[in-house]
């Protein structure tokens, strides 16, 4: 353990010292000088670390080999290991990294600086063939697998890639002065939505990119309002800033793709004076694998994935698309969800098929559904035990959405919590049954909705007085199951201008 700590400290020192930047006058850095690949001596080379039982096992063999062949030992974690051998200190992992050492011990045979043969782990036959020395380790087992090389340690990988010049990233480098606070620097550059962000260092962005198989330079979408082509790399940078883990990145990428479709129309949603923003609802096994919350406090704080995925999308719109409050974002009031609004559906406890199935995806598909919505509004009914009564309760609340004098302009998401869902489940109501009943109960007599009715000037034209007006379009009423197990509450999320002139809900498959 002592040697491990030393090696990490040594690595950090090197990491700092080997980063040399050619600064430009406006505070951006250009080309970096990268650590050069070290040359290899001819003969037999072996890479080891003390923290590896197989390396400990073969240490006596190495001492024997050193007497018979030109042997160079590279040690990754403790320059004193193996005993009695003058090992080369590779605690900065430069030789290991440049020679793609994936496990220790690894044996190489090198001629004129070129590797000509390799053996990984301990395998007597391979070692004897490679070294030309017979009867190696007579008391040892025939073979023993090795341990992971520190040069491929996932924690160190991104930093090593940067240090040794393998960065594939294209984004402009921005220098932050030593005495400048990183968080403040990000605020000062206008990158933040008002909350602190995680500074997007190259190491963090490279680690984020491990979350997807997609190439950093692949174009994900054209982002409004500036209509900028946005790469996977730019999404990853903003996902880092939002606080995402790499495993969330596929969800963020899917959300960016969905948001920037003409159908969802993030441009209009951004520019509107109304309060709405993108609401993200996640379905499929990925909810569990990335630890999303679909239960207690599902629409609230406290879960990293829920809190950061929607935020990452909004940061992409802000930073890549150039959509900022007060500029193209003309919201009169806005809503707190515009920082980022994302949650998962509780599929396991639901009496119904998941939301994604309403958009043609089979159950079990990883999807993110984008709804143009405002903040959630709680709907309380603690007395109804019959589905008809509860449906009436929900419908009465839905009818007032935005204004009791408005209809057909806005879609809605109804989030039915487990205790309310139980009432529909026990009565055998399918999701379509509930949806049909809600449509029926939100039909509004024209006389109640025309301008002037109820003493309110707002309203529809006089010509609808003799008709019944549906509050929602036939496909404008979405139902999702989520929330904690206790509480006879549900919630509604009111939409924004629906249909082709505004925004249509989009469900998008999440791909790795």
């Amino acid at each position: 353990m002592r040697s491990c700590i030393e090696s990490i400290e040594a690595e950090e020192t090197l990491a700092t010292e080997s980063w040399v930047y050619a600064g430009r006058s406006i505070g951006y850095s250009g080309a970096m000088e990268k650590a050069a690949s070290p040359g290899l001596p001819s003969g037999v080379l072996v890479f080891v670390k003390r923290d590896c039982p197989t390396c400990e096992l073969v240490a006596p063999i190495l001492q024997e080999l050193a007497k018979k062949v030109p042997l160079t030992v590279y040690t990754q974690d403790d320059p004193e290991f193996p005993d009695a051998l003058d090992a080369v200190d590779d605690t900065d992992l430069s030789v290991s990294w440049h020679n793609d050492i994936e496990a220790v011990p690894t044996l190489l045979r090198v001629e004129s600086g070129k590797e000509v043969e390799r053996a990984v782990g301990w395998h007597r036959g391979e070692w004897e063939a490679l070294t030309g020395v017979d009867d190696l380790g007579p008391g040892l087992p025939e073979l023993r697998p090795g341990c992971g090389s520190l040069s491929v340690d996932p924690v160190r990988g991104p930093e090593l890639a940067i240090r040794f010049g393998q960065s594939r990233l294209q984004s402009r480098r921005v220098e932050i002065a030593t005495l400048e606070d990183e968080m403040q620097a990000c605020f000062d550059r206008g990158w933040s939505d008002g909350l602190p962000i995680v500074p997007p260092t190259e190491a963090r962005v490279l680690a984020m990119l491990e979350g997807t198989k997609r190439a950093p330079d692949e174009i994900v979408a054209t982002v409004p309002p500036d209509l900028v082509q946005c790469s996977v790399e730019k999404v990853a940078i903003n996902a880092v800033m939002a606080g995402c883990r790499p495993s969330y990145l596929p969800v963020v990428l899917a959300a960016v793709e969905a948001a920037c479709t003409d159908k969802f129309n993030i441009h209009g949603l951004l520019a509107t004076t109304m309060s709405a923003g993108p609401v993200l609802i996640v379905n499929g096994p990925i909810r569990k694998s990335i630890g999303m919350n679909s239960g207690k406090n599902v629409l609230g704080q406290g879960n990293r994935a829920n809190s950061t995925i929607g935020r990452a999308l909004q940061l992409v719109i802000r930073n890549v698309g150039g959509g900022r409050p007060g500029d193209v974002d003309r919201a009169t009031l806005g809503n707190p969800g515009k920082v980022g609004f994302c949650f998962a559906e509780d599929e396991e406890g639901s009496p119904w098929t998941p939301l994604c199935a309403d958009f043609g995806f089979s159950e079990g598909t990883n999807t993110v559904t984008l709804f143009p919505g405002e903040g959630p509004r709680t709907l309380v009914d603690q007395i109804s035990r019959e589905p008809e009564s509860l449906a009436r309760s929900i419908a009465a609340t839905l009818r007032t959405m935005y204004s009791p004098k408005m209809a057909l302009a806005f879609d809605v998401v109804v989030i039915v919590s487990p205790e309310h869902a139980r009432i529909f489940r026990e009565a055998g109501w399918s999701k379509d049954d509930l949806r049909a009943k809600l449509h029926e109960l939100t039909l509004i007599p024209g006389s109640e909705i025309v301008g002037g009715a109820l003493g309110i000037a707002e309203g529809l034209p006089e010509s609808v007085r003799e008709h019944s007006i549906p509050k929602f379009r036939p496909d404008g009423l979405h139902i999702v199951h989520a929330g904690g197990g206790a509480g006879l509450f549900s919630a509604i999320i009111a939409g924004w201008v629906n249909g082709e002139i505004g925004s249509q809900t989009v469900s998008w498959e999440i791909k790795s």
């Binding site: 402009r172 932050i176 730019k234 890549v320």
Partner: protein
């Protein structure tokens, strides 16, 4: 020193050069772009009357919906046909 990656589009903030001002409206073609917000046409009717009174030829255009940017074909059409354009948001 910390190095961060720029999260933005990296567009150099280009200062837009304004089109040269028209010395006179007489004989000039002025486009009026209706952004498709309600009652915007009433406002543009008044503008058209005033511009015509100044001797300008007026061509009216309309976006399909106020929520989306004008389609590129419409923008091109305006640029091709007009010496000046009035595009404004009124709510």
């Amino acid at each position: 020193m910390t190095i961060l990656l720029d999260p933005t589009s990296e567009r150099v903030p280009a200062e837009r050069v304004r089109a040269e001002r028209l010395p006179t409206l007489v004989g000039q073609t002025v486009g009026l772009l209706d952004i498709a917000k309600m009652r915007g046409d009433l406002f543009l009717d008044q503008l058209e009357t005033r511009l015509a009174g100044e001797g300008a030829k007026v061509i009216r255009y309309k976006k399909p919906t106020f929520t989306k940017p004008a389609p590129i074909d419409l923008r091109h059409e305006i640029a091709e046909q007009c010496d000046a354009v009035v595009e404004a948001l009124a709510d």
